[in-house]
């Protein structure tokens, strides 16, 4: 499926100035863009949700391309560990709001671009109001609840949602535009339970991967604006940077989709934290935790404790935990026989999120001994007990 019409109405278009003609001459020389296309770019308003790994190339390329108005939404500040991939921010921007840092960079690249900063988290309360003013939304967020929120708001407002997401070496891209094809919910009716898929902060991500995927998104945004070409509507592009393979899959609209199907049941924005299982489920027993300092005291007192490091070998090497027995998460239930259920067992990972899943897996497998989660993981141990270890 492809869309050939520009989504920018002709009556919003203004002529280019001579300065603009010089600046964008390499676009004007392309018959597929030309003066008409560049005028459409100038008239276009694009909202970029998230100014992280995907948002960085999106914002830079769209600004360079002459998109007239760029909105950027983020509530975060620049952290040192962002700089490995979020190339719109610089070392001197550490601790600044991401939208401020991004706006400065966009302005220095192309002063003609109107930048609207939304220094806030996108929520069910503000999403429709913010998105309404834009022609296209580019989703560069990093969590499921915002992805469903962006999807639903775009479907309700009839806007195209240019989608990209990344994990480790792998990316996905598509254009969800319910008027013309499927939406995000048609592909994924509901999200995985929290923590099942590790986040980039736990799972890692190749720095250039969001550069590639975000640039693909920018390409799709430009085609929607100028019209023509073959868009990713109805197609899911999979990219594996390690294998260096692109694969393309067909996506169809799901007639049973709760928001864009034949009989929609969602007519307004919902509570996405609840939808994504981020509010505690009362049926589920909380996992017992232990603080790093308390673990240290118990070990010093000579308590017999089984300490289980659920990290893979390459990750253990970053900040090794002396005396822990390594059992990677993927092998936990298979190795249930190696535990002694008369002794407390403490589970650890980087920040104490994946280790919860190890505990749940053992509980489900019928393990009866006491299971404790090291609160905030090895990073807490490095912070509170052993300062010689790095936090990562």
């Amino acid at each position: 499926m492809s869309l050939t019409e520009s989504i920018i109405p002709d009556d919003r278009v203004d002529k280019l100035t001579n300065e603009e003609i010089s600046r964008y001459s390499r676009h004007l020389l392309l018959p597929q863009i030309g003066l008409d296309g560049q005028e459409k770019l100038k008239a276009a308003k694009v909202l970029i949700v998230g100014t992280g790994g995907l948002g960085a190339p999106l914002a830079l390329y769209l600004a360079a391309a002459g998109v007239g108005t760029l909105g950027i939404v983020d509530f975060d500040v620049v952290e040192e560990s962002n700089l490995q991939r979020q190339i719109i921010h610089s070392t001197r921007d550490i601790d600044r709001p991401k939208v401020a840092s991004a706006a400065d960079r966009i302005k220095s690249l192309n002063p003609e671009v109107k930048v609207i900063t939304h220094n806030t988290r996108l929520t069910s309360e503000n999403a429709l109001e913010i998105i309404e003013d834009y022609d296209i939304v580019a989703d560069g967020t990093d969590n499921y609840q915002t992805r469903y929120l962006v999807n639903d708001a775009c479907v309700l407002l009839g806007k195209p949602n240019v989608y990209g997401s990344i994990f480790q070496f792998e990316g996905q891209a598509s254009v969800f535009y319910a008027k013309e094809g499927p939406c995000y919910r048609c592909l994924y009716p509901s999200p995985p339970p929290p923590g099942l898929v590790p986040s980039c902060s736990e799972g890692g991500v190749l720095g250039v991967l969001p550069g590639i995927v975000g640039t693909i998104q920018a390409n799709e945004v430009i085609k929607l604006i100028v019209g023509g070409g073959n868009s990713l509507i109805g197609r899911l592009l999979l990219f594996d940077a390690w294998e260096m393979k692109f694969r393309e899959l067909k996506l169809d609209k799901d007639p049973g989709c709760p928001i864009c199907g034949k009989k929609p049941t969602i007519h307004e924005l919902i509570d996405y934290e609840q939808f994504c299982g981020l509010k505690p489920d009362h049926e589920e027993e909380p996992v017992e935790t232990i603080e790093a300092k308390e673990l240290k005291q118990r070990l010093d007192a000579g308590d017999k404790i089984q300490i289980i490091d659920i990290r893979e070998p390459h990750e253990r090497a970053i900040s090794p935990f002396a005396g822990a027995k390594p059992i990677p998460l993927g092998q936990m239930t298979r190795r249930i026989g190696e535990f002694d259920d008369t002794e407390d067992a403490v589970f650890l990972c980087k920040v104490g999120q994946r280790s919860v899943f190890a505990i749940r897996a053992l509980q489900e497998a019928g393990y009866k001994g006491k299971l404790l989660n090291l609160k905030d993981g090895v990073n807490a141990w490095a912070r509170d007990v052993d300062n010689s270890l790095p936090q990562y």
């Binding site: 099942l196 899959l249 996506l251 169809d252």
Partner: protein
């Protein structure tokens, strides 16, 4: 035999393999064969009732099995089965 492509997010459960083999005449049989070789992946693909999880899509070639009869979709010798889970990217 069908080739089953394992996405990065699920490779922790296939001892790191990005491609595994599964024998079977339907999508369901092929995936079940994979879960027999790698039991830890089972609960990430199927729910308690044995239904495919809604955040995992299965494609044979470039077609979603939803359009081919679901888990009963026929798999032919040499077909490539791709598992496509939702990924969010970034922080939790």
């Amino acid at each position: 035999m069908a080739k089953v492509l394992i996405p990065t997010a699920l490779r922790a459960f296939t001892d790191g393999s990005s491609e595994v083999e599964g024998a079977g005449k339907t999508a369901g049989e092929v995936i079940t064969a994979v879960t027999e070789s790698y039991p830890e992946i089972q609960k990430h693909l199927f729910d308690e009732e044995g239904k495919l999880r809604s955040y995992v899509n299965v494609f044979i070639g470039d077609e979603n099995i939803r359009n081919l009869g679901g888990l009963d979709a026929p798999v032919h010798e040499g077909d490539v089965v791709t598992l496509v889970p939702a990924i969010a990217g970034g922080r939790p």
